[in-house]
Amino acid sequence: MMHMLDSASLAEWLPDDTDAADGATGFTRRGFLKSAAAAGFVLAVQLPLARKAFAAADVGIVPPGDFAPNAFIRIAPDNTVLFVIKHFEMGQGATTGLATILAEELDADWSQVRTEYAPANAALYGNPMVGGAQGTGGSTAIANSWMQMREAGATARAMLVAAAAQRWKVPADKLTVSKGVISGPGGKKASFGELADAAAKLPVPTEVALKDPKDFVLVGKTATRRLDSKAKSTGTAMFTIDVKLPGLLTAVIARPPAFGARLKSFDAKAAKAVKGVTDVVEVPEGVAVVATGMWPAMQGRKALKLDWDLSEAGPKSTEAMFADYKALAAKGGGVTVQRADDHAAQMKKAAKTIEAVYEFPYLAHAAMEPMNCVAWLHDGVLETWGGHQFPTFDHMLAAKAADLPMDKVTLHTLISGGSFGRRANSWSDFTVEAVHVAKAIKRPVPVRVQQTREDDMRGGLYRPQYVHAVKVGLGADQRPLAWQHTIVGQSIIAPTPLAGALIKDGVDETTVEGVWPTPYTLPSPDITLQSPTQAVRPLWWRSVGNTHTGFVMETMMDELAAAAGQDPLAFRLAMLKDQPRFAGVLKLAAEKAGWDQPLAKGKARGIAAQFSFHSYVAQVAEVSLTADGRPKVERVVVAVDCGVPVNPDQIVAQMEGGVGFALAAALYGEIEIENGTPKQGNFDSYRVLRINEMPKVEVHIVASGEAPTGVGEPGVPPLAPAVANALAKLTGQRVRRLPLSRTTFRLT
């Protein structure tokens, strides 16, 4: 999801027009391509939707007197400025980011800005970086919206100025705009609200001038603060778990106890006897117990008698999977990712070789708000409330599950308690199960399907388990001569509609990104990939393939530098050609961390960097050991180059959060499976980071005029290898398997 897609490849996965003749979804390949072309979203960066006419019905009712020059801005006579946010807010700050860009070009006052989330409408709110589908992922929110929001804001501003010029009978170029007020000669002043009605009657200009970046007052300023801090600091922010509707019921689902298990039969008698339980219904996901609240639903579920067929439960065990994967890697073969003709010859010439095999476990996202969705079937329509991170998928699959045409389905997208990739998936699992339950109760009553922490954590959709086997030949001059690399693990993309676009010649780009392509000049590579399938659904997990490729590449770099007797930073820089931004963050992080300065005894530094989602991040970790041989990460210095920093303090926040999220996984993250059942189910067994383990994080942002790129994910990949490199320096022990809790470290 982190790569550019064309709309044609997404459309390929959509139902054929003939298939859709039954009206199941009303969303067809030809229709999609047509609407894609109509909305121009492949060209949206150049020709923003800002200038396209749109039907008021598409964006809700625009009250008379409101000024709504495009799908993103509505200004009311009472002077509120409402921005319609096309991206999903899971904490990463997209709401504030898009609003900053709109307000900048509009010259709105930050305190008058209000936001709401866009309805499902790919024609108006599509993301050209994910093939024009409406969705948030791959750290693309700011990147794909930058020019579109600028033009939307500038268009509205130009029309407000034109309205003032008409009213005051002065040339438009005699007017200035600042903080939501238009000023003219002779002390004339008008608020946006006072001009809304007049501006609404003007034609939408076809050309607008954008600001010179040196005149920015909101973009790039630390003083531009988050819009949601107050609501989220007072308990008033509304998440899916908080939705209130008349007669709303709560359901929990008794789910298969193992991947691949099937329901044979169940007895609901005792469950139905629990006070507060209203319905017990079978759905494709299991048996749903519906009640007046969460507790009776959970008690009802406990009282169910369930008989499962476990004959196809799997995988047998994650340890056995590691053994299989290592055997596959040792055997070699698979599809070729990249191969130099002289690989074998160069490897033969090597003065010495370094070999290593790495193991990475399944990881759960464990977002703070367990998965949930509210569905309400009434009067021939379906409404859902949820963390609709990919409205295009959710809309289509909800309609299909409800057996309704898409125009009878309304999605209400709410903020969510984290996601880290979990809420964007092409099964729309938590949306679809809510629709199934709403349908099964056969009453026009809204129902929230709430997963418990255990349901969420044991439900699969994990970062897959991987094995890498690497062999590097070093020449007599201590420089790498040949690079052999095999990756074994599930393809994340294969089961998704993105397969056509992101799997080329059998290679899932998201499994190999960071190994190939890489900013380093890899000598004579031979890179292969094997993608076995498993009963566990794979899913992207904050930074996707970079979670494992970054670890392997950056710890191997360190190992090679040590073998060559060179400084790890200098060794890397010598392998970087024409990569000034990548080299730049490495040097900046090293400088700010005091790379050349001695450290107190018992501490060591490690460095690592990763290019991901078009951004460059380097980190230097300062690590010591606890008395019982556990790593203690004390300080992490981060350098990030993400182009124009739109909200510098939010970039800092995403780097801090990325470090903490990555450190949790590096230290403890692991889902183990036995006979198809995950062992870990809650935070007692799936340990995550706590405040006492949070290192001091210092973030340095590279000043840049390049187009802005993502920051939600790129803070994650360098952390684990930077820590492992520091540990190797401190203890001489090289980490081959994550999490680090599997190793006891000893000072050398």
């Binding site: 899971m90 904490g91 990463q92 700050g93 603060r225 988050r226 949601d228 801090s229 609501a231 989220k232 600091s233 007072t234 308990g235 008033t236 922010a237 509304m238 998440f239 778990i241 908080d242 209130k244 709560t250 007046t292 609240g293 969460m294 507790w295 009776p296 008690q299 464990a366 977002a367 703070m368 708000e369 367990p370 903020i415 969510s416 308690g417 984290g418 880290f420 709430q450 418990t452 922490r453 303090d649 926040a653 801090e656 959060g657 990325g658 470090v659 903490g660 999220f661 949790a664 809650n682 935070f683 007692d684 995550v688 980071l689 706590r690 405040i691 006492n692 949070m694 001091k696 994080v697």
Partner: protein, 152 residues
């Protein structure tokens, strides 16, 4: 029927006395600032004040609340609470925000007991509150800022 005080108001609830207070507060009494994250006293998202002390409401049965004073994020009023929320907002502590009611309840309880907490005191009081967005550095900074305001 169990009677207790919620945010200063007397409430009567007719429910299974084993029901965790969390679900009584959310589902029966309609206050949704208090969140569910784990149900087993591991994450702190459900933290409320029980006679002024922070407790995990997911693991406290309704029966235990009988006759007691319970405060949720909606009922925060103290000076310490105001200082904490002000620091949280001005420093943009939150990301997804889901854990933050619980974080704030723990931080307020800490500052009400100890207006000048050390980093170790903060670790001790806050280690029961998980933040998957890892906003911990700002949580610590905001507690120190609130402390500075309270002791100025």
């Amino acid at each position: 029927m169990v009677t207790f005080k919620l945010n200063g108001e007397t409430r009567e609830v007719d429910a299974d006395p084993n029901t965790p207070l969390l679900w009584i507060i959310r589902d029966d009494l309609g206050l949704t600032g208090t969140k569910y994250g784990c149900g087993i006293a591991q994450c702190g998202a459900c933290t409320v004040h029980f006679e002024g002390a922070p407790v995990r409401s997911c693991s406290l049965p309704l029966a235990a609340a009988a006759g007691k004073n319970i405060t949720t994020i909606e009922g925060l009023q103290s000076k310490a609470a105001q200082a904490v929320q002000k620091a949280w907002i001005s420093m943009d502590v939150v990301q997804c925000g889901y854990c933050q009611s619980g974080q704030i309840m723990s931080a307020v309880a800490l500052l009400e007991q100890n207006a000048r907490p050390s980093d170790a005191d903060i670790d001790g009081a806050m280690a029961g509150n998980i933040c998957r967005c890892a906003t911990y550095q700002r949580i610590r900074a905001a507690i120190h800022a609130a402390s500075a305001e309270l002791t100025a």
